[in-house]
Symmetry: C2
Subunit: 219 residues, 2 copies
Amino acid sequence: MGNIIIGSKSKDSPRSKESIREENELIILFAAEKVFAKHGLKGSTTKQIADMAELPKSNIHYYFHTKLNLYRCVLESILVDWMKAADTFNTFEEPREAIRYYVGAKMDLSRVRPFGSKVWANEIISGAPEMEIVLSSRLKKWVDSCVSSINSWVKLKKIVDVGDAHTLLYMIWATTQHYADFDYQVMILNNGKRLTDSEFEEKKQEVIDLILRSVGLNP
Amino acid sequence: MGNIIIGSKSKDSPRSKESIREENELIILFAAEKVFAKHGLKGSTTKQIADMAELPKSNIHYYFHTKLNLYRCVLESILVDWMKAADTFNTFEEPREAIRYYVGAKMDLSRVRPFGSKVWANEIISGAPEMEIVLSSRLKKWVDSCVSSINSWVKLKKIVDVGDAHTLLYMIWATTQHYADFDYQVMILNNGKRLTDSEFEEKKQEVIDLILRSVGLNP
DNA sequence: ATGTAGCCTGTCTAGTTAGTCAAGAACTTA
DNA sequence: TAAGTTCTTGACTAACTAGACAGGCTACAT
C-alpha cells in the first residue's frame, strides 16, 4: 500500500536528498504558475501557492526564499518552452512551412501550458517590471531575425507585402495565445464546454489557414 | 488666478454638489482604470488609486464604498465603449466594409483606451470572476449574431470558408487588443519608442489588410 | 553508530491594507 | 441666516501577509 503513488511522496521508500529538492521545486513551480496565472504577482499569496502545492508555507520560502524570486523562476521556466517553439520559425526556408510549424507549435503550447502564457501575459500587461531585460535583449534579437526572414520572403515575392513584419508577428502571437490567456472566454462562447482535443486540432488548423491566407499563401 | 484650471478643482468659484459628485466619480474611475490595468484587482490598493486620483483614500470609499464595487464600475464603464464598437460589425452588409470598420474601431479603442482593455484582459485571464454573467449573456448573444453574419457570407461565397467563425472573431479581437494589452512589448520592439499616431495608423491599415486577406478578400 | 548537512514546519512579527468613523467644511434651501 | 444635506479627511482598527527563525527530523558519509 502506498508504493505506487505517482507524483506524490511515498512514505515507504526514502527519497534521496537530491531528488527531494528537485521534486519539491517542480511541485512548487507548477503550483505557483497556476496561482500567479490567476491572481498575478501581487494578488497571489505564498499561502495560496503552498496550499496548491500541498506543502506548508514555510517550504515555499525554504526553497525559493522570496515570492518575487519564485515568480522570476516561474517566468524563466516558461521562457525555456517558448524559445523552443520560437526556434521552429527559423528552421524552415519556405514561408508556408515556417508559418505552419510555428503557429502549430504556439497553439500546442497554449493548449499544454496555458498557465505559463497567462503569467507572461500578466507580466507584460503590468509593464514587464521583472522581464524588461529579457524582452529588450533575448526577445528583441529573436524578433529582429524573424522580421528579416519575413522581409526576405516579401522581397522574393514568396508572400505579399505585409508592410511592417512586426504586425504579422503580433497577429500570430496574439491569436495563438488567445486560446491560452482567454481560455475561459473561449469556453463560455463554446457553450460553456472546454474545447475537446479534436476540436482544438480543428481550431489550430483554422488559425494556420487564416494566417497563411493573410500573407497571400494558399493553405 | 486659478479660474481657468481645467480638469481640476477651482478654489474660487464654488461647484454645485451635483457636478462635484459627477466630476469626482469620473476622476476616481479614470484613476482606478489605470491602477487596475497595471496591478489587477487584488494587486491594486485603494491608496494607490487615491494617489493617482490625487484625493484622500477616504474619498474613494465615500464615492464607491468598496474596492470591488469600484472595480465593477470600471469594467461596466469600459463595456459601454466596447459595445459601441461592436455595433459597427452588424451595420454593414458587405464583409469588406464590416471587417474594415470593425477592426478599425477596435484598433482605435486600443489606442484611445488601452487601460480599459487591460483591465478586461486581466479579468478574463483570472477566469472572469466578476463578469461571468456579462460574458455568457450579453457577449454570447452578440457573438452569436456575428457568427451567423460570417456564416452567411461564407454561404454566399463572399468570403472563403473559414471553418468555425469564432476562430476569425478571436483573431480579430486578439490582434487588435494586442496593441493595448501588450503596448509595453510593442514599444520595446519598436526600439523603445511608443508608436506615433501616424505609425499607429499604418499598423491599423496593415492589420485590416491582413485580416481581409485571411478571409480571401482583396484589400 | 554517530556527526553533520540539508530538509521540514509551527510559531511569531513587522508591515500593509480595506474599510470605519466622527468631526468639520461647503453647498443648498427656505 | 439658519438648518439640513452632502462632501472631505485624518485617525483608527481588524484582518491579512511575507518572511524569519528555532528546533526537530532525515539522509548520508565516515
